[in-house]
């Protein structure tokens, strides 16, 4: 009955753990291994400005996330500048300000862009207000002429747009199109102007091509036309209703990338680089941008510093599970049940070799002090307290000496669990007295070996990745631990112990 109950419980835990893990893996696209990479680009913008000792105000258009493209890890390098970003409404802007700047000013902006493989539909938006563009009288007349002719030849918005850009691309010499093309720098801009005159909602899109490697990316323009509740992209190069392939729309409208007051722009450079960053990072970044509830209600929703704590804490169950196996299936003896796992945690910070050196020296010095205290015949609690105090002092001295000698690893001795060390020293002296130094050393070595094993397992990249990204998988560890609670087979060390009872064959 008990056993059946246990097995059902374990089965349920396994089921829930596996389901949640699979969901996270397949639906939320969390990577299974630590170094899976996904197509990602890093975009860097470098502005060079000449300032003349006046207050400077530089505003720069910023790209923003959109369906199919997620932007994250944005960073700015602008020494001495105040920075403000406007809320993401139509165009995001970064505004750098400085009271007085002189000489060459260099500002950087960089961001990581992740392209997801899923294609989302363009979001529905309310119809925008149409503001007819300003043309001078001659241009206005030319525009009306062009519109009038195309309206006769076209059947709907689609064919109107296609015809318009076909004519702008290949203008008849001396025709109204040629006149209009002189009104703005790009075809896209001219086309949008004409369309607004015709009473259509249209806008220019400025973007860059996401090529594998482009030290100097050129800004490209295309057009978006409001049609049936959403903006549709139109590529003026190919005359097709689609966004140019593999392009990042940066900002909308005809404003320039940067506008500067109190200085002169010398140089703008946009670099696009394909990077192979950790797929986990980009998934989390993406989910965060999408404000997914699953990210919010997971470890990734916590503040970074707390995340680091959990990165460490979530490996503890793995160490404890290993400890259960080593104690109940192998039969190793250790000081204190979970002491080795705590020591293993400290090893993560100190690194193995230094951890071993520091651990041995603290315990050895502690033992010497403890043996001395034995002569004073102190009561247990004050004696333990004295050992704790001595351990702390020893750790402080080790830190100071190693720092002076230039071994900065020695500083990490402070991460050892002090009370656990003191208890270890106390247990070790009692066993030393009671069962002899041999037994004490055997148990100390055993504890140390278990700690090293725990450290090695808890520190495997795949283990760290799994427990952090798929904490549900710890339910499987719990199930296995519970199941081991009813393990009634031999311990490994019992085999040689009972060897005489094995009989002849």
């Amino acid at each position: 009955m008990n056993k059946k109950h246990l097995y059902i419980l374990c089965g349920l835990l396994v089921l829930v753990g596996i389901t949640a893990t699979i969901y996270r893996e397949l639906v939320l696209e969390f990577p299974l291994t630590p170094n899976e990479t996904t197509p990602t680009w890093r975009i860097e913008t470098r502005l060079e400005i000449e300032a003349k000792g006046n207050p400077v105000r530089i505003s720069m258009m910023l790209p923003s996330s959109q369906p199919g493209l997620t932007l994250y890890n944005e960073s700015y390098v602008s020494p001495g500048y105040g920075l403000a970003t406007s809320a993401p409404t139509d165009n995001r802007q970064a505004i750098f300000t400085k009271r007085a700047a002189s000489g060459t000013q260099i500002l950087y902006y960089s961001a990581v862009l992740h392209r997801s493989l899923t294609r989302d539909a363009a979001p529905k938006v309310r119809p925008p207000k149409i503001r007819p563009s300003r043309f001078n009288d001659i241009q206005m007349a030319a525009a009306r002429q062009v519109i009038g002719r195309i309206e006769l030849e076209s059947a709907d918005t689609d064919s109107f747009v296609r015809l318009l850009f076909a004519q702008l691309k290949d203008p008849r010499p001396g025709g109204p199109e040629q006149l209009l093309l002189q009104a703005a720098r790009t075809r896209a801009e001219v086309g949008v102007k004409i369309m607004t005159v015709a009473g259509m909602a249209a806008r220019v899109v400025n973007g860059i091509a996401l090529n594998p490697d482009r030290r100097r990316a050129k800004l490209v323009r295309w057009v978006e036309i409001y049609d049936e509740d959403s903006w549709r992209a139109f590529d003026t190069d190919s005359n097709e209703f689609r966004a140019p392939p593999a392009h990042l729309p940066w900002w909308r409208g005809t404003s320039p990338l940067t506008s500067i007051q109190g200085g002169r722009l010398i140089h703008t450079e946009i670099a696009v680089r394909r990077v192979f960053i950790d797929s986990l990072q980009s998934t989390v970044g993406k989910q965060k941008q999408a404000q997914s509830k699953f990210v919010e209600f997971s470890v990734f929703g916590l503040p970074l510093q707390t995340q680091e704590v959990y990165r460490l804490l979530l490996t503890v169950p793995i160490g404890i599970f290993l400890l259960v196996i080593l104690r109940n299936v192998v039969g190793m003896r250790t000081f204190g049940t979970f002491m080795p796992v705590l020591i293993a945690l400290a090893f993560r910070e100190t690194q193995l070799l230094w951890g071993a050196i520091l651990f041995t020296s603290v315990v050895a010095i502690g033992l010497l002090v403890r043996f001395y205290l034995e002569q004073l015949k102190l009561l247990l609690v004050p004696r333990l307290a004295s050992v704790v105090i001595v351990v702390i002092l020893v750790m402080t001295v080790i830190s100071i000496i190693s720092h002076k000698l230039g071994f900065d690893r020695g500083l990490s001795v402070a991460l050892f669990p002090i009370v656990i060390l003191a208890m270890t020293i106390e247990r070790m002296t009692v066993i030393w007295d009671e069962k002899g130094p041999k037994e004490a050393l055997i148990q100390a070595t055993g504890s140390f070996l278990v700690a090293v094993l725990c450290y090695l397992v808890m520190n495997l990249d795949i283990v760290r990745h799994w427990v952090f990204v798929f904490p549900e998988s710890l339910l499987l560890v719990l199930a296995a631990t519970l199941a081991l609670g009813r393990y009634s087979g031999y311990r490994l060390v019992e085999l040689p112990r009972f060897r005489v009872l094995a009989g002849k064959d």
Binding site: K377, G489, Y490, V500, L501
Partner: protein
């Protein structure tokens, strides 16, 4: 390795995990543990059931009482100081005599009043107790062992360990102290364990540190084929421990005193498994037999008869 495990399984050798999961967790209720873990309570319960125990000279429960230790010891030349909740014989001190205000230990070394007080203080603070709980110190009668063991025990007191399952004696051994075990009857301290044939009460082969021996390493006398005196009484006392504690699986430690006969020393809710090595036989088959038996096992007589009829030695060669 798997062959070894299989062979052990076939011979019915009980491992720690199986002992804990299938017998201790199943048959021993935790609320009964204090009766066996606290030797002062064990003494009370034993006396209530008319089982003789070593006389209690005094008990020290709080640090303040440590000063009264010399008063407790005043009338006694020899005595034993032990922690009430000790495990594996830790913290036990045997004093065999006094000379000029000093106390003589089993090995002849002399200790002072102060040493004894320090031991008691340590006992109270709980270093020897299970889980480090504050403890009590017992000062009690020192057992003078039966002359039958004179030739095969070195200094300490040999004791008889009988494991009972549901009140039926399952397996027994006698532990003979050696020079190596410092006069203590504790197998992993190097004392000899000799299995006892439940049916006859004669010792079987003996083990000393995992090797089979036929002679006592210190005295050179044979340790096999020795008859344990009053074997029937020992079996009855052991079997009766079931009524005392209600623990289904327990170990009973008895000593044979020269003057007072069998005395109950202590009970153990988690008896060790080395008894299998001393008997060269696994526990599993015997335990299974008791579990499968449907006849009455209600009285001590029935249980002892069942044990003697079924558990004659069948040592593994």
């Amino acid at each position: 390795m798997f062959r070894l495990a299989k062979a052990l399984k076939r011979n019915g050798v009980l491992g720690i995990n199986a002992r804990n999961a299938r017998y201790i967790l199943e048959y021993n209720e935790r609320r009964n543990y204090p009766l066996v873990d606290d030797k002062a309570l064990t003494k009370q319960v034993a006396l209530k059931h008319n089982v003789a125990v070593p006389d209690l000279y005094g008990m020290i429960e709080i640090q303040r009482q440590v000063a009264t230790l010399p008063d407790i010891l005043a009338g006694h030349d020899d005595f034993v100081i032990k922690p009430a909740n000790g495990s594996q014989g830790e913290g036990i001190l045997v004093i065999t005599g006094k000379t000029e205000g000093l106390y003589r230990k089993v090995d002849g070394a002399l200790v002072t009043d102060e040493d004894l007080k320090f031991l008691v203080t340590n006992i109270l603070s709980g270093i020897y107790s299970l889980g480090g709980q504050p403890d009590k110190a017992l000062i009690e009668y020192r057992v003078k062992f039966d002359p039958v063991f004179e030739d095969i025990a070195y200094r300490g007191v040999p004791d008889v360990r009988i494991i009972i399952f549901k009140g039926v004696p399952v397996m027994a051994m006698v532990r003979l102290p050696t020079r190596m075990s410092d006069g203590k009857a504790n197998l992993h301290r190097g004392c000899i364990g000799a299995g006892i044939d439940i049916a006859t009460g004669y010792t079987l082969t003996a083990v000393w540190k995992n090797t089979i021996v036929t002679e006592h390493p210190d005295t050179g006398n044979p340790v096999s084929g020795v008859e344990i005196p009053q074997w029937s009484r020992l079996l009855k006392i052991a079997s009766g421990a079931y009524e005392m504690t209600n623990l289904g699986y327990q170990g009973i430690d008895l000593v044979l005193d020269k003057e007072r006969g069998p005395l109950l020393l202590e009970l153990n809710a988690r008896p060790g498994l080395n008894i299998q090595i001393a008997n060269r036989e696994g526990l599993q088959a015997r335990l299974d037999k008791i579990e499968a038996y449907t006849g009455p096992l209600d009285t001590i007589a029935e249980r002892v008869a069942f044990a003697r009829g079924n558990f004659a030695s069948r040592a593994i060669s």
